[in-house]
Amino acid sequence: AQSVDQPDAHVTLYEGASLELRCSYSYSAAPYLFWYVQYPGQSLQFLLKYITGDAVVKGTKGFEAEFRKSNSSFNLKKSPAHWSDSAKYFCALDYGGSGNKLIFGTGTLLSVKP
C-alpha cells in the first residue's frame, strides 16, 4: 500500500540557517508528490509539486525540493530560513493516478528562532 513518511515531527533551527525537511514515500507506480504548508491557525497552502522532469523543483516562498528515486525521497529545502517560515509542513503523494487522491504525511513542525 502507498504511504508517506515524514520522520521528523519537530525541527528547530536559527534564522539564517539552511533547512531541509525530510519526506519519503512508498508507492509502486510513478510518484506525484506535493509539499504544503500550514501556518498556525490557518489552512494549507501549496508550495510545490513534482510530476516529472527535473529532479529539483522550485516553488513559492523561496522553497525547492529534490526528488530522488533511488531512495524514494522528496525533501524540502530553503536557504536561508526566516522566522516567518515557522509552520507545519506536509508532504503528500498522489496515489490515484489522476491527481484526485492524496495521502499526506504526518507533517513536520518547523520552528525558526530569530
Binding site: 489552512s43 498522489d94 492524496l102 499526506f104 507533517g107
Partner: protein
C-alpha cells in the same frame, strides 16, 4: 481570482446530532472539489472528492457523506455525530486535469461534545 468559502467557521455540536458543512468556490468553472478532515495537531485525511456535479467519490467515509448539488458547491453531512468527528474540516479545489495542485479553504472547526 478564485475564492473559496466555507461555512460555518466553527460549530459546537452534541453527540448524536446532525451536521452539515458547506463549501463554495467562486471564479472557477467546473473545479474538482475535495473534503479533508484534520484532527487537532494531526495530519490530513482525504474524505471525498468530486469531479462533476452530482458525482462524489468516497475515499474514507468515517460515517460522513458528501454531495455536490451545484458546480460551485460541496456539502459534507452526517445524520448522527460521533465524538471522533471533532476536528478541522477543509474543503479544497483544483483545476480539472492531472496532478493539479489543490487550493484549500479556511476550514471549519468542529467540536463534538
Amino acid at each position: 481570482a478564485q475564492t473559496i468559502h466555507q461555512w460555518p467557521v466553527a460549530e459546537i455540536k452534541a453527540v448524536g446530532s446532525p451536521l452539515s458543512l458547506g463549501c463554495t468556490i467562486k471564479g472557477k468553472s467546473s473545479p474538482n472539489l475535495y473534503w479533508y478532515w484534520q484532527a487537532t495537531g494531526g495530519t490530513l485525511q482525504q474524505l471525498f472528492y468530486s469531479i462533476t456535479v452530482g458525482q462524489v467519490e468516497s475515499v474514507v467515509q468515517l460515517n460522513l457523506s458528501a454531495s455536490r448539488p451545484k458546480d460551485d458547491q460541496f456539502i459534507l453531512s452526517t445524520e448522527k455525530l460521533l465524538l471522533s468527528h471533532s476536528g478541522f474540516y477543509l474543503c479544497a479545489w483544483s483545476d480539472w486535469g492531472h496532478y493539479a495542485e489543490q487550493f484549500f479553504g479556511p476550514g471549519t472547526r468542529l467540536t463534538v461534545l
